[in-house]
C-alpha cells in the first residue's frame, strides 16, 4: 500500500518544543518549534547529526518525554498534556517504537515469546492461551523467525535476529505508526539490507506508517517518501525525498548531502565535503521561519535568505 496523501494525516506535529531546564539560568532547547505531518502508509525520514533533536522528537511523540510546547495529534486525538484513558489506550497500541540497540531494548531474562506478547498481556488482547500463542507464532513467522524461537532468550540470537524481535514486538499491536529510532545503525551492512527489506514488506502488507530516524542518508533516501532535515533542534528543510536530494536549498542540507561517502572510488577520491559551520555561516535560526518553496518543499530561513538560496540553485 502506497502512502495516502488524500487522507487526513495520521500524525500531526505542530510547533513542538522540548526544552530541558538544566538550572535556573540555562535551558537546553533540544527541539524548538518543529512541525510536520505523516500520512497513512507513508515513511517520513528524520535526519540530522547527533544532538540535532531527532531522537527527542521521536520520544516526545510517543510520550517518553512530555513535550514542553506545541500540539501533537494522532489519529485525530490530541496526545499532548494529560492523557485520558481512551487516548492513552490509542497511543499505547496504535503507535509503537523500535529502538536502536536491540540488545539493550530486550529484557535478557524473558523469553522471546513473552517479550513479543507483553503488549497483548497488558492490553488483555486475547481470550485463551492458545489464541495468544497463535498470534505470537504468526508474528514470528512474519518477521522471518521460526516458531521454535518462542522459548529462547535474547542472548541466543544474532544482532539481526534481535532487531527482528524488536520489530515483532512493535507489530503485534497492529500499529498504524511505528517510530524507528536508528533501528538499523547497530547492524552490519548485509543485515541492514535484510531488516530494511522486511520493514518495506511489512509496510506494504499492513499499511503502517514509519517515522524513520537515522543519520545514514543513503538508507534514509532509499526508504523514505518524505524527509525532514534537523539541525540544533530546528527543522531546516522538509520535502519529498526527490525534492531534498535533487535540489537541496539550505547550506546545512547541502553540507550533509555532500558528506555521504559514495561507494564509487573514482568519484569519491576527487571530492571533498562542503563545510558548514553554524557560527560562521551568518545564518540565525531564530530569525527565519519555514517557508514554502514549491510543491511540498519547505526551507527554514528569512525571506531574503530563501530568495538567495532558490536563485542560487536555479542558476
Amino acid at each position: 500500500m502506497a502512502a495516502n496523501y488524500n487522507a487526513e494525516p495520521i500524525l500531526k506535529v505542530e510547533h513542538m518544543s522540548q526544552h530541558f531546564k538544566i538550572n535556573s539560568a540555562f535551558t537546553v532547547k533540544a527541539v524548538d518549534d518543529v512541525s510536520f505531518e505523516i500520512y497513512p502508509g507513508e515513511t517520513y525520514g528524520l535526519v540530522g547529526e547527533s544532538g540535532s533533536g531527532k531522537t527527542t522528537i521521536g520520544r516526545g511523540i510517543i510520550r517518553l518525554y512530555d513535550p514542553t510546547g506545541g500540539k501533537i495529534t494522532f489519529k485525530g486525538a490530541d496526545i499532548t498534556g494529560r492523557l485520558n484513558r481512551e487516548t492513552s489506550q490509542l497511543l499505547r497500541t496504535k503507535m509503537q517504537m523500535i529502538f536502536q540497540d536491540p540488545m539493550a531494548s530486550l529484557n535478557p531474562r524473558k523469553k522471546i515469546g513473552d517479550i513479543i506478547g507483553e503488549g497483548l498481556d497488558i492490553h488483555h488482547m486475547y481470550r485463551t492461551k492458545e489464541e495468544r500463542k497463535e498470534h505470537i507464532d504468526g508474528i514470528l513467522k512474519k518477521v522471518g523467525l521460526a516458531v521454535e524461537h518462542y522459548d529462547r532468550y535474547p542472548y541466543q540470537f544474532s544482532g539481526g535476529q534481535r532487531q527482528r524481535v524488536g520489530i515483532a514486538r512493535a507489530l503485534i499491536m497492529n500499529p498504524e505508526l511505528i517510530i524507528a529510532d536508528e533501528c538499523i545503525s547497530a547492524l552490519d551492512v548485509s543485515i541492514q539490507a535484510q531488516v530494511v527489506n522486511l520493514m518495506k514488506d511489512i509496510q506494504e502488507e499492513t499499511g503502517t506508517a514509519y517515522l524513520f530516524i537515522a543519520h545514514d542518508l543513503s538508507m534514509v533516501k532509499y526508504i523514505s517518501d518524505r524527509i525532514g532535515v534537523l539541525h540544533l533542534g530546528k527543522m531546516l528543510e522538509t520535502g519529498t525525498t526527490d525534492e531534498i536530494f535533487s535540489r537541496p536549498l539550505h547550506p546545512y542540507t547541502k553540507s550533509l548531502l555532500s558528506a555521504i561517502p559514495s561507494p564509487n572510488p573514482r568519484v569519491e577520491k576527487a571530492r571533498t565535503a562542503v563545510e558548514y559551520d553554524y557560527e560562521t555561516s551568518g545564518i540565525d535560526y531564530g530569525k527565519g521561519s519555514l517557508t514554502l518553496v514549491e510543491g511540498t518543499h519547505y526551507v527554514h530561513g528569512t525571506a531574503e535568505e530563501v530568495r538567495k538560496w532558490t536563485s542560487e540553485s536555479a542558476g
Binding site: Q194, P263, R266, K269, E275
Partner: protein, 361 residues
C-alpha cells in the same frame, strides 16, 4: 623487492572460550607497501580487528597463535632498515619499540581511548616523553604544534582541558594527534569514524589523508563502510569468517569484483541512485566459528555455490597482478557465472558518473 612495510603471512589464531575453541583467523595474508593505504573490509566477527590487534601485540589472553608470521620493516634512528617478526617478540619489547612508536592505532570510540582524568596536554606528551626521550618542555611545544596540525583551534587552551569538555569530532582529532606524535611508520585505524556524524566523518578522513601525505605514513583501515573505503584506500582486502576472500586494488574491487561475497556487500549498500523496490541482501548470517568450517565458509549464504564448495576450500585464484579471489567460480572447470544484473547496472552507472565528473584516481 618492493618496499613492503608490513607482511602478514598465513596468520592462524584460535581463541579458547568456555564454549570451546573458536578458530577466528584461518590463514590470513596481508601486504602493505610503504606510503600506501590498505582497507580491510568485513562484517563484525569476521576477524578484522583480531588481525590488527595481533600486529600491535595486544591480543586477548585466551588467544593462541597457531601459525604465521608478521614481518614489520622500519627504519631505525640511524637510518638502518630493520625487519622484525612481531610474533616472535615478547610483549615488553613490543610495548617499548613498536606500540605508539612505530605503529600507532586509532580506535572507534575516542572517549574510551582517552583518559578522562588527565588533561589533553598530559596525555599527548606522555607518549612523546616515553618514546622520544625529549624533555617536558619540548614535548609541550610539540603537542601544541600537533594540535594545530590536526585542526584544533586555541591549542594552548585545549592542552589544559579534559576530554569531556570536547565534542566527539575534536576528541577524535586529539586521538589522531596522539597517534602521529611519535612519527609512526604505520597507522592502524579501527573504524575511526563509525561513532561520528557523517559531516565530521568526512573531515576526519580528509585529515588522516592529509597527514598521511605530509608524514609519509602507511595506513591500514578496518571498516565495514564501503563509502569510507572508496574515499581512502589504494588496496582492499575483503575478509569473511577469518579469511581474506578477495584482494585487489580499489578499482578492481569496486568495478570488477569477482567474489560473490563482495558482490553482496556492494549491492547491499544503497547508493544514492538506488531506486529498486528491494535491496539485494546476503541471506542468512555469518557462520559460527566454534564449529570447524568444511569447504567454503561462505557457501551456505552463496546463491552461486557449487558442489565443490561444501567439500574443499577454494584457493586464491589470481585474476590480475594485484587481484586475487578465493572462490571456485574462478576455476576453469566451473560454470561461467557473471556478477548479478543489478550490480552490473550499478557499476556501469558508477563509471558513467565518474566520467561525467572527470574523476581521476
Amino acid at each position: 623487492m618492493a618496499d613492503k612495510i608490513l607482511e602478514i603471512n598465513n596468520l592462524d589464531i584460535t581463541f579458547s572460550t568456555t564454549a570451546g575453541p573458536v578458530h577466528a583467523i584461518r590463514g590470513v595474508n596481508i601486504d602493505l607497501e610503504r606510503g600506501e593505504t590498505v582497507a580491510v573490509v568485513g562484517e563484525s566477527g569476521s576477524g578484522k580487528s583480531v588481525v590488527m590487534k595481533t600486529v600491535m601485540g595486544i591480543l586477548a589472553g585466551n588467544a593462541a597463535i597457531n601459525r604465521g608470521e608478521i614481518l614489520f620493516r622500519y627504519k631505525q634512528d640511524n637510518g638502518e632498515t630493520v625487519e622484525v617478526d612481531i610474533l616472535k617478540k615478547d610483549k615488553k619489547w613490543i610495548r617499548k619499540n613498536i606500540n605508539g612508536r612505530r605503529i600507532a592505532m586509532i580506535f572507534q570510540d575516542p572517549m574510551t581511548s582517552l583518559d578522562p582524568t588527565m588533561t589533553i596536554g598530559k596525555q599527548l606528551m606522555e607518549g612523546m616523553i616515553m618514546h622520544l626521550g625529549i624533555t617536558r618542555q619540548e614535548a609541550a611545544e610539540r603537542a601544541v604544534r600537533l594540535l594545530e596540525e590536526v585542526g584544533i583551534t586555541e591549542p594552548g587552551r585545549r592542552m589544559k582541558q579534559y576530554p569531556h569538555q570536547l565534542s566527539g569530532g575534536m576528541r577524535q582529532r586529539i586521538v589522531i594527534a596522539m597517534a602521529i606524535s611519535c612519527n609512526p611508520d604505520l597507522l592502524i585505524c579501527d573504524e575511526p569514524t563509525t561513532a561520528l556524524d557523517v559531516t565530521i566523518q568526512a573531515r576526519i578522513l580528509e585529515l588522516i589523508k592529509k597527514l598521511q601525505a605530509v608524514h609519509g605514513i602507511s595506513v591500514i583501515y578496518i571498516t565495514h563502510d564501503l563509502g569510507v573505503v572508496a574515499k581512502v584506500a589504494d588496496y582492499v582486502n575483503v575478509m569473511y569468517a577469518g579469511k581474506i576472500v578477495e584482494v585487489g586494488n580499489i578499482e578492481e574491487i569496486f568495478y570488477e569484483p569477482k567474489h560473490p561475497y563482495t558482490w553482496g556487500l556492494l549491492s547491499a549498500m544503497p547508493d544514492l541512485e538506488t531506486d529498486d523496490a528491494r535491496l539485494y541482501t546476503i541471506p542468512g548470517s555469518p557462520p559460527n566459528l566454534l564449529h570447524e568450517v568444511k569447504g567454503d565458509a561462505f557457501a551456505p549464504r552463496n546463491r552461486y555455490a557449487l558442489k565443490i564448495d561444501s567439500i574443499a576450500e577454494p584457493p586464491m585464484f589470481q585474476i590480475t597482478k594485484t587481484h586475487f579471489a578465493a572462490t571456485w567460480l574462478l576455476d576453469p572447470r566451473a560454470p561461467k557465472v557473471e556478477m548479478p544484473e543489478e550490480l552490473k547496472k550499478r557499476v556501469a552507472r558508477m563509471l558513467k558518473e565518474a566520467d561525467r565528473n572527470g574523476g581521476q584516481l
